[in-house]
Amino acid sequence: METLTELQWIFDVLTGCGLLWLAWSCLSSRNLHRAVVQFVSFGLLMSLAWVRLEAPDIALAEAAIGAGLTGALLMASLARLPLSGSADIRALKSAERIAGARLLQLLRNSLLFAFALFIIYAIFFLPPEFSGLREEVATEIENAGVRNPVTAVLLNFRGYDTFLELLVLLGALFGVRIVGMQPVRTSMTSEPVLNILASLLTPILILVAAYLLWIGTDGAGGAFQAGAVLGAGGVLLLLAGWRPARALMASPFRSLVLLGPLAFVFVAVLPLLSGRALLQYPPDSAGTLIVLLEIAATLSIGLTLCALFLNVSADDGEQP
């Protein structure tokens, strides 16, 4: 047992160093394309760290959203950016040569270093025993309607946060529509392998999303992870140039992105009519209501992520 914990410690240190190294090289590599790839690997390593921290829910969310969809968004944007990445580093290097700039840089770096040291110093003043809200969650989980404590916090105890968070996603979508970067519609060079892959994987991804949603009440998983997987399936279809996927993004299907927020509003306001508080589920139907909310939220999140991707992506084939 002793050697196991020691091995774990070594593993943790290696993971931490790997994360720092990937972050550093992603933020300072000469080539933007490489930076994005390194960022995706960074996200994957992060989800390994989450597993080690006994946070499987976050690990799933990070792999699907943090690495997967953010990576896809970054890649798609990079393909549309006019200039390659080496220019910015070169400009930076020439600016560094000026003496005053170097002094400023030294000052800034030492300030940052002092800041980091102070954070670490403060960590040692945290109370050594920490239970946070674990006890409170444990006593109320009986009445929460679900058994996975993370899902209970997300959809019941702090469901109001989740509601606002869905609005954040929606706000991003509205904003993206405002900027109105329409995807460049060129004729697709059809890619048979991608097509086959998409048609094979999409049903599986939908199945996985449903599974994650269903398992989320008891174990790791839930609306966000499922929504992200659904979104990934949509992104795949879009990449394969699948027409119905485009049609799904158009009206009237586009109003489906409102499903999650609408379901939340409905479930939130209903208890008010019977004199209870906002989002206060009746105890015996809490589980059902949460599942309904999660289904709506999953569809909404998946479609929103797809739509966000569609707005930054250019069709393949017009890349330089």
């Binding site: 890619e191 392998v193 991608l194 086959i196 892959l197 094979l200 994987l201 599986i204």
Partner: protein, 99 residues
Amino acid sequence: MTPTDWFTAMLLGLGTIFFIAGAVGLIRFPDTYTRLHIATKTDNVGLGLIVFGLAVQSGSWSVAGKLVLIWLLVMLAGASVAYLVANGAISRGIPVWKR
């Protein structure tokens, strides 16, 4: 350690060797196409060995099934992506390595 454990350990060790070989190849091989080749091939075999080793330990069909499903998915994705990357490289005119 039971015989099953030994079996698992052997498979995991073998799988790891494949992964390491793949990583070395990725660094050492001369061009995009050969790198793709080594990376996908060793990953598929290495992951297969590891999945098999873990499936033996799991003791339940549903877990073993999920592990095998993961392997199949990775193979599917790996093969397609390798093809797509290679295709992209060709269409961009990246030359094939010649001795």
